[in-house]
Structures are given as C-alpha cells and as structure tokens.
C-alpha cells in the first residue's frame, strides 16, 4: 500500500501546493533556512511540519497488531533525534516505545521536512509528530467510544496499546486502527497529554542506537553491505581545485584490480572488487603530477582577506533612543578562522541503479536535496531516484556527505545493476569539504555614568554559510563533469535565522543598536554551514564586549547582563547556572586562575544557554586547564533530559576545541590541513575536569532544539575566564597556548 499511496500522495500535495493560499510563511524556515526553499506551506494553521504535510498517515501508520510506524523527514546525526522523536510519538500515542518504529528521512516514505539542521528537528518534526499523534489518539478514542457505545469521556488510553472504557471493556489499537482512516488532515488543536500524565516524554529513555554502537552492530552507513557490492575511490589532487594529470583511460583500465574506471571531465574514480585494491589504485594515481587550482588560496589573515572583498551591506538592527552621554567606550575586533567540520568518519555513500531506479544511501543532512542534485546531475527524472538517510559519523553541518552522495550516484549510473560503495579518505575530507566560514566582527560600544550601555555599533563580515547543494552546481562532481554546472551564487539566510548575521542581534535591551551584516558573496575558500553558523563568532563578540564593558563600569559581569535583560527565561538560565556554579562567592585561590560566563539564546528564537567556567593557566606554557563548567539550558518542553545534557556537554567541548586550537591553513595553493597532525583537535588531556549541565523544566512550552546553543557561549565564557585570569583580552580565535604564553610572560 505504502509505495503507491506515497507517490499519489506526493502528486496530490503537488496539486495542493498549486492552490496553496497566499499566506505569509511563518517567520521560521524549515531546516533553519539552510538548503533550499524547503517544503511549501499548505496549511499555515497547523504546527511544525504539519503545515506542509497535514495528512496524518504521512506521519503515522498503525498495523493490525497495534504497532505504530512513525515517519520523520529528519535524520539521526548522533544528536539522539531518533530516540527523542520515538519518545514524542510514543507519548502522544500513549504506546510503549517498544511498539513504535521510527522511519527517518527517505524520499520514498517520509515527508520532506527540509534539512536536518538549524536545531530545528524538535521544532519542525517533534511538533508535527506530537500533534499528529495526538490527532491519531483522538481518532482512536472516538472510534473506540463509538464501537463500545459509550461517551468519549468514558474511554481512556492505558499506555499499553489498549483503550479501556469506564466499565472495563477494552479494545486494542490494532482492532480499532483497522476501522479508522488516517488519511485525514490534522486538526490544529488536538488535546496533548500533559506533564503529569507523561510516561515517556521527559524521561531518560536509553538511546536506541547505543547498544549496536557499543557491540559492533550495524549502525552506520559505513557498515552497509549490499550483495555484490563494489568499492569505489574518487581520484583527486591533494587539495580543492587541484587537477591530476591522469594517463589515458586505457592505461588505467589495464591496472590490476580495476573493475571500472569512471571519468567524466575532471571527475575520475576507480571501482574495484576489493576495497584495498581501490585504495592502492587511488594511491598510484595520486602520485601523478597535478595542476594548481585556478584561484590561489588567500594568504592573509581572516580580517585582511574578508575586508578586501566587495560586500553588500544588510542592516540587521537599527534602533535609536535618546540616552545619557556615553562615559566609557570599548572598541574591539574579533575573528574566527576557517575551520574544518572534522568528522571522525570521512564521508561515505552507497548507490545502486536497478532497472532504471537509482537508490542512494547517504548521511547528508539534506536527503531530499541529494535526490534533487542527482536528478539534475544525471539528467534523470526525479521519480526514478530515491535517497535514504543512513547515519554517518557526526557531521556538524555540511561536510563531504553531499559530494560523496552525488559521486556515488554518478558512478552507479555508469554501472547499472552494481551496488557501489564510495568512501572518501581522511585527506580528501580535509582537502575538499566545505569549511566553516572565517568571520570578523568590529564592535564599538559605550556605557553612561549609570553603567547602562548607550551605544552599540556592530559590524560583521562573512561569506554565505548556506551553500548546501540543491542542484548539481553545489557539489564538486557537478563542477567537474564535462557538461559542468556552475557554482551557484551564495545568498544570505534572512533574519530571524540569519547566517553570518545569526545572533548578531543581541537579545539584550539596548537603546541604540546599529548592526550591519557585510555580506560577501565571493568565496575564496569553499565554505558552508558549520554548527551554529555565525552565532559562534557573534556570541563570542557580544559576550566578550559585555565583560569589557562590565570591567570599565566596575560591575560584576553577571549583574551587567541582568541589568540589560528583560527576558525572564534568559535571566533564569543565567541565575540558575550562576548559583550552581557559586558565581557570587567565587574567589581566586591561585595565580592565573579565572572565572568567566557567557549567555545566548540561539538565534534569539531557540534554546537559551548560560555557561560558567573556571580555568587555570600555566604561565610557562600558556596551557589552559578548564577546571569546571556549569551550564543551564532552557529548551522548552524537555523530551529527553539526558539527551540535552549529552548535546550540550558535547557542544561545550567542541566549542573549546574550536576556540583554542582550530584553524584550517593554506600555503597559497594547497590547504595545509590534511590529517589530524596538521589539524589538531582537543584530546583527552585537555578536556574540562568537570562539566555539569542542568535543564529548565518548561512543561507545555514549544520544543526548542539544543544542538547548537552551546557553541557561542562556551567559547565566550572561555575568553572571559582567560581575561579574568590574565588581565589580557584575547579576541582572535584560535586562542592557542603559545598566544597566551607570549602575552603573559612578564605577568
């Protein structure tokens, strides 16, 4: 039933789109505005992604045994969404989680919810699934009541897959489901289960994927084995844009182990029966001379490079209110380098052309876009392509996943009937993936005699962060094939999500704010989205400035923030974390010890996060030890408390690594980071000694994704703690041990 229904459903929704009411889209975009335009809005009154896919059976199906299959357009990236969404569905259906199977994004079976990005999964999908499940539960109760001949108020779900009447008669979901059609549109106000009734949501359900991952089970795309599978390796020069001078096809085809050599324009790949043969062939071919990239890589620093490029000025904020005269001023510039996603598992994809149907298995965050890209690249009707998400290693944005998926598709299309597995090598991931954009900010602020901030001028320079491929021009192979596709012009994501401008608008109440986003469309280095986008540097800048202003005012950094923050939830996370940390009674007991804090609400729309940190600095090496971190998070209704802890702990550690170590360098022609020795990241010895995360209880409040809320505050808290410890303000990331050491030699 599913396949035909899905196709006709898709066609039907196409018609629905044509007649969609011309209502303004909600302020927030699916997938956080990353990727393409996202799915069209069909019914703006419905919550979450239901507004694009209002039919219940797009989301939930029940079988005759009362087991539920739930469909999400989002992907498990290691952020625990598979478990969290299962909890949401199980809760609202009032079923035990063991009776719920979640199907993650598959272009044939699930709704298109745009990208899994922007911390939107709980907002888009969690909300949709919750409400769809509530609708289903409502329908089941109504049917049960009718079947049993009682009033609806006299039947209740029991949490075990049955509905029981007041007189004790019961019906299983399976029996009722047979008589209920779920091909109906959701109603916007189906009653939701409340916190006091919760059986699953709000509890720590052990993650469904962890058992396999700790015992060698099949858990990742890299573990997939298809019958008769062949192994491919793409043949490229050492760094993006370099082109190998390959011999003629015939010479390569004659080499040992070659099943096929695929060449199209500048794209080349070998296919072998054994994976190791493919690797050895790749090594042999990569020994050949190569030509440099057409454009040299920039040789200057971040600020120098960006500010030399033409920019379009976008006003983000412009407010004016008469105020008292400024008394103290602070002016600073902050930068963050181009940095690598650094996925532990280099990107991988599988593809199989069987009887004119091409299936692509991918770990891309934009699975529906993978399908669109392949359709354009291969000039195939999109209905003949299916893309299925299978979990890869953490990607933290757009790494090589989309490129590999397109490359695998191209190779598979040239070898009908053969399943192809393509794996990028470590150095290919470093050398060719899009990097997180380097950015620079300049801030000029002032306080009056009453310690109020009366001036706030903020400029931020950045490339577009959203270069996620929606067509063939967005992937490497699309630029390499003989009939190549041009690289699309990058566009900024508009506020309120923003990209380089993300979080450039402080949540604080400031009377005079002038925030300009200098959008630079020319990208000297290949860039795309990296976890939190511009929020990392913008929050770093804003929170560093607040501490500098507090210092000038002689005010405690926490008090400075509270004095300018009316938002209760923001105040609450700051106060909660500060109390748990012992901020008010903090005392230095050793030299070069420092305390720092930072706060942000991700995008001013997402989760709230406050981070407090205590560090010590080794004078003669500049090495930092983070003694303890205390964070508090408000993410609305909490689905999995431990899931929140896990994500935020991870964000803090990753952010510290970015802040203290990471910069992807180049020597003018090649990227110089090609392995972990040339791109060191934080290792165990330098991880904080203690990290504690608490989560606010906000029953009934909308879900807010936590995946990216910690990146900005953690780096900022570190910089503030460093300033407290050393009296030196570090503004250019990475803040390496050597930079610190050199600055404190004479302290």
């Amino acid at each position: 039933m599913s396949a035909i229904t899905r196709r006709s459903f898709l066609a039907a929704s196409g018609i629905a789109v044509a007649f969609a009411l011309a209502r303004p889209a909600r302020a927030q975009l699916a997938g956080g505005g990353e990727g393409g335009a996202g799915p069209a809005i069909v019914n703006a009154d419905l919550p979450g992604s239901l507004k694009s896919w209002p039919y219940l059976d797009a989301w939930i199906q029940l079988d005759q045994n009362g087991k539920a299959t739930v469909f999400t357009g989002k992907a498990e990236l290691g952020q625990g969404i598979r478990t969290a969404l299962t909890q949401v569905a199980a809760e609202e259906l009032d079923l035990p989680p063991s009776k719920v199977t979640l199907v993650t994004v598959d272009t044939l079976r699930t709704p298109d919810e745009g990208l899994t990005a922007g911390s939107h999964s709980m907002q888009d999908s969690g909300t949709a699934i919750r409400n769809a499940a509530a609708n289903v539960r409502m329908l089941l109760l109504a049917k049960a009541a009718a079947t049993l001949g009682v009033a609806e108020a006299d039947v209740a779900t029991k949490g075990n897959g049955t509905i029981v009447a007041a007189d004790g008669r019961s019906l299983g979901y399976g029996e009722i489901a047979a008589a209920v059609s779920l091909h109906v549109e959701a109603l916007p106000n189906a009653p939701l289960r409340q916190k006091g009734q919760f059986r699953t949501m709000g509890f720590n359900l052990p993650r469904l994927d962890i058992p396999a991952k700790t015992t060698g089970g099949e858990a990742f795309i890299q573990d997939m084995r298809l019958p008769g599978m062949l192994h491919a390796r793409v043949i490229r020069g050492p760094s993006i844009g370099t082109r190998l001078k390959l011999p003629p096809d015939s010479e390569i085809e004659a080499m040992d182990g070659v099943v096929k050599f695929v060449r199209n324009g500048d794209f080349a790949a070998v296919v072998s029966r054994r994976e190791w043969d493919a690797v050895k062939l790749m090594r042999r071919l990569q020994a050949l001379p190569y030509t440099a990239a057409n454009e040299p890589l920039p040789s200057g620093g971040v600020a120098e490079t960006l500010k030399a490029l033409p920019a379009r000025d976008i006003v983000i904020l412009d407010t004016s209110t008469p105020t008292a005269d400024p008394k103290h001023s602070v002016s600073q510039s902050f930068t963050r380098n181009w940095i690598s996603h650094g996925s532990i598992g280099p990107s991988c994809a599988l593809a199989w052309l069987q009887d004119d149907q091409l299936t692509i298995w991918t770990h891309s965050q934009g699975t529906f876009d993978v399908r669109r890209v392949a359709a354009e690249l291969l000039n195939r009707p999109i209905e003949t392509i299916r893309a299925i998400h299978v979990e890869g290693a953490g990607c933290y944005g757009q790494n090589g996943a989309d490129d590999v998926a397109a490359e695998a598709a191209l190779i598979a299309a040239s070898m009908p009937g053969k399943p192809i597995r393509l794996q990028w090598m470590r150095e290919q991931e470093f050398g060719w993936e899009p990097l997180g954009p380097g950015m620079v900010t300049e801030v000029d602020a002032a306080i009056d005699a009453g310690d109020r901030i009366v001036k706030w001028n903020y400029d931020v320079w950045s490339n577009p962060h959203n270069n996620r491929p929606v067509g063939a021009g967005g992937v490497l192979v699309g630029n390499e094939v003989a009939q190549s596709f041009p690289i699309p012009e990058g566009k900024p994501i508009p506020m309120p999500e923003g990209d380089g401008s993300r979080n450039s608008n402080p949540l604080y109440d400031l009377p005079n704010t002038h925030v300009i986003y200098h959008f630079i469309k020319d990208m000297p280095i290949r860039v795309s989205a990296l976890r939190s986008l511009g929020a990392h540097l913008n929050v770093f800048s804003i929170e560093s400035m607040f501490d500098e202003l507090a210092l000038k005012a002689g005010v405690d950094p926490l008090d400075m923030r509270l004095a300018h923050m009316a938002d209760d939830r923001a105040r609450s996370v700051m106060l909660t974390a500060s109390e748990a940390f012992g901020w008010k009674t903090r005392k230095k007991t050793s030299p070069l010890q420092g305390f720092g804090m930072a706060f942000a609400r991700y995008k001013n729309l997402g989760a709230y996060c406050a981070v407090f940190m205590e560090i010590t600095v080794e004078r003669d090496t500049g090495r930092l030890t983070v003694r303890r971190v205390q964070a508090d998070v408000d993410c609305g209704e909490v689905v999995s408390p431990d899931g929140v802890h896990n994500q935020v702990e991870g964000a803090i550690i990753q952010s510290l690594s970015w802040c203290t170590r990471e910069a992807s360098g180049n020597d003018g022609t090649l990227r110089t980071a090609f392995d972990w020795s040339t791109y060191p990241i934080l290792r165990f010895r330098d991880v904080p000694e203690k990290i504690a995360v608490t989560v606010q209880q906000q029953p009934g409040k909308p879900f807010l994704g936590v995946a990216e809320c910690g990146q900005g505050p953690a780096s900022a808290a570190l910089a503030n703690a460093l300033a407290d410890a050393t009296g030196v303000r570090f503004t250019h990331m990475p803040i390496t041990a050597e930079k610190v050491r050199a600055a404190i030699v004479t302290l």
Binding site: G237, D256, R284, E427, L592, P680, R741
Partner: protein, 426 residues
C-alpha cells in the same frame, strides 16, 4: 725482592704523606664556600624588559625541559634523567625559598651556571651542562636569573638521586670538572657576521647542542676534539652537525631555521625522540636568534672531512609499480610518495638522515616509539611496537633502505630491533 722493615715503614710514611697531601689538594680543589641566603627578590621590582630578555635566553637553554617533571609544575624539577651513571633528578629552580632557588643571590646563580656549584657550596652533576653555560655572559645570566625569580614559587623537593655506588660523593665532581670544565668565553670571529657570532655564542653556551651532538668519553665528558661528530641521547642518535651528517649537503640556513623553529623542514624528517621537545622549545624563540643558530650550524655542518655517506634520493619517476608486501599495508598510507604527507611537502623517506645513516638506530626507534608532536602529544607517527614483530620491523627497514636510498644495506636488523626494544622497556 726483600724489603727491610725500615724501607717498608719509610714507604708507608711517604705513601701516607702523599695520600694526605692528595686529599688536602683535592679538598682544596673541591671545597667551595657557601654563599649566604638572601630573601627572595621582590617580584614587582624586576624590570619587565629584563624578564622578557631572560625568558628568551632561558628558551635557548631550554631549562624548562629538564627542570619540569611529566605533568609537574613548570621549573619545579624532579624530572628523572637517565645517564650511564644512574638516574639523577633535576632541581627545583622556581624562586621557592625552601625547596627552590628563592634564597639564591645573582652571584650564586652565576656561580652555579659557570662553575657547577650550588649556593651551599656543593658540586652539581654535569647533567646541568655547565661546561657550556660557563660561556654565557654575566649580563645574560642576570637576565635569566631575573626571569627565574619572576616565576611562580613552587614547593617541590626532588627525590634523592639513584647513582652507581660511590658516585653520590659530590666532591668527586671537582675532579671531573678539573678534566672537563674549561673556563673560557666564546670568542668572536671578526671575519664572520654578527649573526654568525651570535649563533656561535648561543650554540656553544646556552643551547648546548654539543651536549647531545658531540660524542662523550667514558667519564661522560664531551670529546672537544670531535665536536659535533654526533652523540646519543635517550636511546636515539643525535646526528652529527659536521660534514659527516649524511644530509649535510642538503641543509642550508633556511631549512635549518625552519627545522629548529617548527620541527619540520622540506626535505628532512621531523624532529624525533628528544629533539622533539627541543624544537618545541625553540618555537618560542624569536626569529632572529633561531636564524643565528641556523647560520652557525650551517657552517659546522658543512665543515670538516668529506662526508662518509650522502643522501641521494633515487628518482621516483612515473607510476611506481604495485608492491605487495608489509610496506603497503603498514607504511604506505603515509610513506608512499603519493601519500598525502608526501604531496603536502612532508619529508619523503628518501630524504631522511635516519634512513641514510650508517647506524640504523634512529630508524628503528622511529618505528618502535613513533614520533610525537610534543605540543599536543598526538602522534605524527604512531608506534609500531605492538603490531609488528622484531622480524617484521627488520624486514620493513631493509625494504625501505633499499627502495628509498642508494646506501649499502644495513646488516640484518632483527637482533638490533629486539635489543633496542628491550632497552626502551627499561
């Protein structure tokens, strides 16, 4: 022969007198007065410029490497130093009055560095390379003193030394010094540039390169006549810094400067073993001084007798043929010329002194210990001690030698690998 009792008595008296005189002379030589304690200098009174100058000089001397234990507080000592004479523990040179040098005057510090005598008059073991430091000017020593006195005082006492029996008797060191400590300042060569002279001054003195790179005699003193002919440090060969270095003709000032500052240089292998921490330290040294050292060493490495073996990298042209052996699986990922490391300018095996040296020791150590990035402790090259057997390592090194160099083959290495592995385990 028959000696009369009187002759024996006379002989005994003369011998006794000689011994007494000998002890007396020896005592006179060995005796050094205690210098009075002073209160630790006031931190705030030390001029920042002097601290900065001293910090740079201390960086050349790399005090921190020997005077800091693993994971211990900087400069607080207690680092074990293994020598053929036993294990010594470095002293605490933070300005702590009880356990460090907080009570030392500048005079006492200068005497320690130039004469190897502690404040209390006891002799210091030449693990402190005072036969080099004796050449440092008083002004520079005062700057280093200022730097050390501006550090954080730490209470830390070194464990007692574990030396061979008898060597714990410090006055014996006076004898050692008689033989090996020459009080001479580095002489400027008027025909050379000031940069060269600066380099010589640093190398002869604070940098004490000869401490590892010059062979030592049985008493542990450097053989001055064979300066820079190569030495051993912590189980690794410190290659010669004279023309007998197999890569001598491929070193120049630029590559030496890059190597000293970053630990890597195009066409040469990464600083490994105990040289890793040296280059990590020098990464903090100002460029002018690094270059000066490079300029001087560039002279020494091109002087002397004609080299015994030179590196001539064999040409690797066209597509290399496919090889099916251990190398591809264990080494090729990094060491095939087409590997990312090679494409990114990291040294090819053909270019390394280790593969070309007559003594395979360093090549064996690189495979057994790996090469660490001293600043992050992550591996540049992992250790193969646990996944490859002695025989396999021997075979791989023989293969590498024949494929990547034009040198005569090493002798069979299985026993050598086994012995060095045992040595490392001690």
């Amino acid at each position: 022969m028959h000696y009369s009792k009187r002759t024996l008595q006379a002989g005994a008296s003369i011998l006794g007198l000689a011994i007494t005189v000998g002890f007396g002379v020896f005592g006179w030589i060995a005796y050094e007065p205690e210098l009075s304690r002073i209160p630790p200098p006031d931190r705030a009174s030390i001029p920042p410029a002097l601290i900065r100058k001293g910090e740079q000089l201390a960086t050349v001397g790399d005090c921190i490497v020997c005077h800091t234990a693993d994971d211990g507080p900087a400069l607080a000592g207690s680092r074990p130093l293994t020598t053929p004479f036993g294990t010594l523990y470095s002293n605490n040179i933070t300005p702590d009055p009880e356990t460090g040098i907080g009570n030392w005057s500048a005079d006492a510090f200068r005497r320690a560095m130039k004469e190897g005598v502690a404040r209390d008059g006891s002799h210091l073991y030449p693990a402190l390379p005072y036969e080099h430091f004796t050449r440092v000017t008083d002004a520079d020593l005062d700057a280093i003193y200022a730097f050390l006195m501006s550090r954080e005082p730490v209470k830390e006492s070194a464990p007692p030394n574990e030396l061979l029996p008898g060597l714990g008797f410090r006055p014996l060191l006076a004898g050692w010094k008689l033989l090996f400590l020459r009080h001479e300042a580095t002489v400027s060569e008027p025909m050379e540039s000031s940069e060269w002279n600066r380099g010589k001054y640093l190398v002869d003195g604070l940098a004490h390169c000869g401490g590892c790179h010059t062979p030592r005699n049985i008493l542990g003193g450097e053989k001055w006549a064979d300066e820079f002919a190569g030495g051993v440090a912590e189980g690794w060969n410190a290659p010669p810094l004279d023309a007998s270095n197999p890569s001598a003709d491929r070193w120049n000032v630029d590559t030496l400067q890059a190597y000293l500052k970053t630990g890597t240089a195009k066409g040469h292998s990464t600083a490994a073993g105990p040289m890793g921490p040296v280059t990590e330290g020098l990464s903090r040294l100002n460029d002018a001084d690094v270059r000066a050292i490079a300029v001087y060493i560039n002279t020494t490495i091109h002087s002397g007798t004609t080299p015994s073996s030179t590196v001539t990298p064999p040409a690797i042209a066209g597509l290399p043929d496919a090889r099916t052996n251990l190398f591809d699986g264990a080494c090729g990922g990094c060491h095939e010329p087409s590997a990312p490391m090679g494409r990114q300018g990291r040294p090819l095996l053909s270019e390394t002194s280790d593969m070309n040296a007559k003594d395979p020791r360093n090549a064996v150590q690189a495979v057994l210990q790996g090469i660490r990035d001293p600043s992050s402790d992550a591996p540049f090259m992992p250790s193969f001690a646990d996944n490859l057997t002695d025989r396999q390592i021997a075979d791989l090194l023989a293969y590498g030698r024949s494929r990547f160099t034009t040198q005569p083959p090493w002798p069979p290495l299985e026993d050598t690998v086994r012995d060095i592995r045992k040595e490392n385990a001690q």
